[in-house]
Amino acid sequence: MTDAKDERRPAGELEAAVMATLWAIGTPLTPGQVQAELDSGLARTTVTTILSRLHEKGIVRRERQGRGYAYHPVQDGPGLTARRMHTELARDTDRETVLARFVAQLSSDDEQLLRRLLEADE
């Protein structure tokens, strides 16, 4: 992935990538740390701009850290959301039909086959 290609990506995709990083790491991150974690050739100023935009939208919070800010995602009652999601997924097994899920259910044989495939690659 080249720098030029990443800088040309739509703003929405960059916002998504930055937001995903904040959630995946789970601790407050500075723009420099986000940039290092993404490892995709984005300029640090670009990351800073995206983080400020997310902050303006109110979906990340920030706190002073040194001369800059560290950002973390706004939690929205995690326990409540998780419980609601669980019950819905348990009920709507047929959601798989029109909503294209990333990965389908694995059988035990599938799991072993998949592990062999991934190990062979390493």
Binding site: M1, L14, A20, D39, L89, A100, L114, L117
Partner: protein
């Protein structure tokens, strides 16, 4: 003429062995179009055949003969064939209608639930993140298109693998794959012989999105790893859900990973499989059209409008 209408009812079974091979031979996006067009045509033709059989039976009943303004008895094959065929067709149509209505209600409910769920969460770009310990990700078509990913899924992948996941879901949305999936479901509810084809269409949408993701991240093995690790992470929390793949055959996920691990296939001569698929569709459409036209003619004769 009535015997001809049995052909569209039998052809979906012939499509079963074909549909698996189509996906092996053609590029996923091409296979997706070919299979969906074939499945929809065959489903439509089998419905037309069932309708003609059922109507033939109805017009034999005096009440409907009057309603249909028949002045002569309807000319049909022997009653030994026409009456049971009409009864079976009417039954099959009733079962299909019930299945279709139930499907439509369930799908729209699941879709609305998912929309409401995504609407309740902040979105960054097109990404909606749901804080949940269950690894899950899906494309949510609509205006605007969104991708919904749980925090557990984000945490089980590396930054590069997350990009592959996002590219995969965006490919579903941009490709309008939900229309293909809906068409496959409708077809499978019209004729049970098309269920195998529905599975092939589902796999084709995933393969098409996988290939698109591999192109976006520029690394097929990275895309393969992302799918594999996501599936293994989801495995432990989704275990209570019924497995929908028979244990004997490799399920869709290992097939997708294996396909990405190998180099992209040079386009092979796929002409014979295309020809067979096309022949299957054409025969179905041809026999259904001929049969229905002949039935229409018989009805007009019985109405005294034609001889």
């Amino acid at each position: 003429m009535t015997v001809l209408l049995i052909v569209p009812l039998l052809l979906p079974f012939a499509l079963r062995p074909l549909s698996r091979r189509v996906l092996d031979r053609l590029a996923p996006a091409t296979a997706l179009w070919a299979l969906t067009c074939a499945a929809v045509t065959l489903a439509g033709c089998s419905l037309a055949a069932l309708g003609a059989f059922a109507l033939t039976g109805l017009l034999k009943l005096p009440v409907f003969a009057v309603l249909g303004e028949l002045v002569h008895p309807l000319h049909t094959a022997s009653d030994l064939f026409a009456v049971p065929a009409a009864a079976l067709s009417a039954g099959a149509l009733a079962v299909s209608t019930w299945a279709l209505v139930r499907w439509a209600v369930r799908q729209s409910r699941a879709f609305r639930t998912a929309q409401a769920e995504a609407g309740a969460h902040p979105t960054a770009g097109d990404l909606c993140i749901v804080d949940s310990p269950r690894p899950d990700a899906y494309a949510l078509p609509g205006r605007p298109h969104r991708i919904v990913v749980t925090t557990a899924m984000l945490r089980s992948l590396s930054a590069a693998e997350r990009e592959a996941l996002f590219a995969h879901e965006r490919a579903h949305n941009h490709g309008g794959h939900h229309y293909f999936l809906a068409a496959a479901d409708l077809a499978a509810h019209c004729h049970p012989g098309l269920r195998t084809t529905r599975e092939a269409i589902r796999l084709a949408t995933e393969r098409a999105a996988d290939e698109s993701a591999a192109r976006v991240v520029g690394d097929r093995k990275l895309a393969a790893r992302a799918i594999g690790r996501a599936a293994l992470a989801a495995r432990h929390t989704l275990a209570e859900r019924p497995a929908f793949t028979p244990a004997a055959a490799a399920g869709p996920v290992p097939q997708r990973v294996a396909a990405l691990m190998t180099a992209p296939r040079a386009p092979r001569t796929a002409s014979w499989i295309c020809l067979l698929l096309l022949a299957c569709t054409a025969v179905s459409a041809g026999t259904a059209a001929t049969g229905v036209l002949a039935f229409h003619h018989d009805v007009e004769v019985a109405q005294g409008e034609e001889r």
